[in-house]
Amino acid sequence: MQMNMVASINNALKLCMQENKDVVLLGEDIGRDGGVFRVTDGLLDAFGSDRVIDTPLAESGIIGTSIGMALGGLRPVPEIQFAGFMLLGFAQLVNHAARFRGRTRSGMSVPMVVRTPASGGVRTLEHHSDSPEAFYSHIGGLVVVEPSNPYDAKGMLIKALHMNDPVVFLEPTKLYRLFKQDVPETMYEVPIGKANVVREGNDLSIITYGTMVPVVNNVVQKRNIDAEVIDLRTINPLDEKAILDTAKKTGKVLIVHEAELSFGAGAEIAARIAEKAMYDLKAPIIRVGSHSLPYPFPGYENYYVPNELKVSKAIDKLLSS
């Protein structure tokens, strides 16, 4: 069936709730309102208010209680209304969700999937467009994923709900309704920790994820470039093998993400290539990201988020070096 990402995530939640009665959803405005992006639309009516919980307005509370629920045998799926507000639950994630398994030597674990809309490009207000994947990846213990299409979103969410780990599930706001895809209505998993080779190529490798996948694809298609495009899908843990394989194959690597350039996931990817495939490179690695400053007000976002022209220029530079 043709589905956009909102529909495919809704469908994944529904299937998982049917499959396992311990799956509960909680968050601000997710019940009656169906979520501000309507991702949880219809689920309150289908599963009742014990399983689709409209919470008070408190992100630390949402994530903290989810951790407790998980330790109590449930599989909570907290929704944080926007990634920028997840920082209020950051302490709970870093201090507790990331550590419970390790500090009890697997005696306890926190199976939960924190869903949140992330990244910008849709002229939202301040704090509604952040790309925080590097924060959550930095410490270890949290699985961090970001699908770039409806098919992957559904399969990865189902996979996440079948795992026994805390998963930060970033949903690119811009891609929620950007396009539809044929998505099976049945259960299926898309692996977590595995990158997707979107297209094979020989002249350069473009490693990307999230909102930048369609941007990169557009450039590559329009210009008919023989590029290998890798959609990471999972930020932590990185699919290092896929990264090194493509780096060795083409010898030229461009990394593109929407998050701020400095100290972003691109730095980690570049460092791993430098450590393990340096002598296979024919040119220095190039990173493209947003500028190294907080996401601006919406009037400036087109000057801030990488666009096709910026990606295109980086490709030129790499191909000519």
Partner: protein, 357 residues
């Protein structure tokens, strides 16, 4: 042994009822009809601004907007109760405060067009920019109040939080600090009954929001937030107490007549009957009734005022629409100095033409 160690109760105050009748036992002597007229005119300005913003948003000329419709009395009453030396620390819905405290209207529309530049206030302006993360402004207000007290300025801080915002940790932490530090703070809880789709009763099991003051050792009071006179009196009294380092919490009971923001559809979660009942309690209607009865207001004065405000607001919009953003400004106000690496990013971006796309 068992004994009562704490007693707390919350009073509710209304001075002007929905029909424009005044409870003279509570009416301060110094509130003149002239002042009430000024309150009415200010509320009308807020409402005219609100309507303009909503219509510009629908035409795609500004970004997402959070309407204040129905909350004029809470905002104007409290804003007018402030002394010139006092500061306000808002959330994201108190547009009326900016209007009456001297932020140029063009600045407001520059912000609403999505440019930081609008938030650069004129020298001496005593208000903070909007705080989008709910509740996050409360500790700022407390810290500001501490600084004002430390510097012996005699100023107080009036801060605003929504009913939903009282559930955030920042709110509880903030007012708790205020109690321990005894700072000149008036914390206004602008209870408009809804936090997007979450009704007040699902936000907390507490009967009132004002009673949250008790846990922080502060005084709490509830006021009819649609009664501009009651709000004015209550906040003025609260400021006087706060200025003597007795921080206050005031819950203004009002109603969000419009949308949460222009991205919201209230039909999903609330009944038209409920909204209708609150339209009856419209904060402006009662004052207009009062002024009309007194022979101080009529169709003609209403029309004259509407024309005056239209021109004022349209001029602000025109100036804001003439504003041209400079992408370099993104880089130049991040630090007090320019890091070499950031300068490289700026120069590289300026030299490429992808900004011109």
């Amino acid at each position: 042994m068992q004994k009562r160690v704490f007693d707390g109760s919350i009073d509710y105050i209304q001075i002007m009822d929905e029909e424009g009748n005044i409870d003279s036992s509570l009416m301060p002597k110094d509130i003149s009809d002239e002042l009430i007229l000024k309150m009415y005119r200010n509320m009308a300005l807020a409402r005219a601004f609100d309507a303009k913003a909503l219509s510009l948003q629908r035409q795609g000329r500004i970004v997402t907007y959070a309407p204040l419709l129905g909350q004029e009395a809470t905002q104007i009453g409290s804003g007018m109760a402030m002394r010139d030396s006092d500061f306000f620390v808002p959330n994201f819905r108190q547009h009326a405060l900016y209007l009456i405290k001297g932020l140029p209207i063009e600045n407001m529309f520059i912000s609403l067009r999505g440019f930081e530049d609008g938030a650069k206030a004129p020298q001496g302006f005593r208000g903070f920019p909007v705080a989008v993360p709910v509740g996050s402004q409360v500790p700022h207000a407390v810290g500001l109040a501490y600084a004002l007290k430390y510097k012996k300025t005699g100023s107080a801080v009036v801060s605003y939080v929504g009913d939903g915002g009282t559930s955030e940790g920042d709110f509880s932490e903030g007012i708790n600090f205020a109690g321990v530090w005894k700072v000149p703070l008036v914390m206004i809880i602008e209870n408009n009954q809804w936090a997007i789709s979450i009704p007040r009763k699902n936000q907390t099991a507490a009967v009132t929001l004002a009673q949250k003051a008790f846990a922080a050792g502060l005084e709490g009071l509830q006021v009819d937030g649609n009664d501009v006179i009651a709000v004015y009196k209550t906040i003025r009294d609260a400021i006087n107490l706060a200025a003597q380092n007795e921080p206050q919490v005031i819950e203004c009971v009002t109603y969000r007549l419009g949308l949460h923001t222009t991205s919201d559809d209230p039909n999903k979660y609330r009944s038209p009957e409920e909204t209708k009942e609150w339209e009856r309690r419209d904060p402006m209607v009662r004052v207009r009734k009062y002024l009309t009865k007194k022979g101080l207001w009529n169709e003609e004065t209403e029309q004259k005022m509407a024309d005056e405000y239209r021109e004022l607001i349209d001029t602000g919009v025109a100036k804001a629409e003439a504003f041209k953003p400079d992408p370099k400004s993104m880089f130049e106000h991040i630090y007090s100095f320019m890091p070499e690496t950031l300068k490289q990013e700026e120069d590289d971006a300026a030299a490429s033409n992808y900004w011109q796309q």
